[in-house]
């Protein structure tokens, strides 16, 4: 799982039928201090998160597809949690 921040929304009318009704959000990976790194990717939202929130993203197909239960959706990235707090031992 990857820590990320939701930075935007994506609207797509023409998409795979298994993705209908799915909320697509732009997520940017962050480190434990909240600093952005890497590139922004697209994830399907399963927990009702919104722009600005810190979230947990799974980037593996099996786990991401689980949010659609039995539907065989072509999804490789999904938001599966909203982060309340991160505690770590800093340097």
């Amino acid at each position: 799982m990857q820590l990320a921040r939701v930075i935007g929304t994506v609207v797509s009318t023409q998409k795979n039928l298994h993705l209908e009704g799915a909320k697509l959000l732009l997520v940017q990976p962050i480190d434990e201090r909240g600093v952005f790194f890497g590139k922004a990717t697209l994830a399907v939202d399963a927990v009702g998160s919104g722009v600005g929130e810190r979230v947990l993203v799974v980037n593996e197909g099996r786990a991401a597809g689980e949010i659609f239960q039995k539907r065989i959706a072509p999804v490789d990235s999904a938001i599966i949690g909203i982060v309340d707090e991160i505690t770590f031992v800093g340097k």
Binding site: R5, I7, L19, K39, T41, A43, V51, P74, D76
Partner: protein, 95 residues
């Protein structure tokens, strides 16, 4: 999934039979500010995307799901055409 722009298409005559009649597109992955990032790649199309359009694509085994029960030999597939996207100030300010 990642954002990308369709740069062109690829024509191949001799290929795996599972890829017959499928469109192959050349994609340039994009960042949230429309800047090209990373290397270009070839992906199968499942939504009727055309050159110049902004799309999103999946990588890995899931790329073959849109064609089930047919098994297609691909690891990247365009699964949606993007109408528009917006990035909040949070996303822009820390860049």
């Amino acid at each position: 999934m990642q954002l990308a722009k369709v740069l062109g298409s690829v024509v191949t005559t001799q290929k795996d039979p599972s890829l017959a009649s499928l469109t192959l597109l050349v994609l340039q992955p994009l960042d949230s500010d429309r800047k090209a990032v990373g290397r270009q790649l070839v992906a199968v199309d499942s939504v009727g995307a055309g050159v110049g359009e902004e799309v999103f694509f999946v990588l890995g085994k899931e790329a073959s799901f849109p064609f089930l029960p047919k098994r297609v030999a691909t690891d990247s597939c365009v699964v949606g055409i993007i109408d528009h996207w917006s990035v909040s100030k949070i996303g822009k300010s820390t860049r």
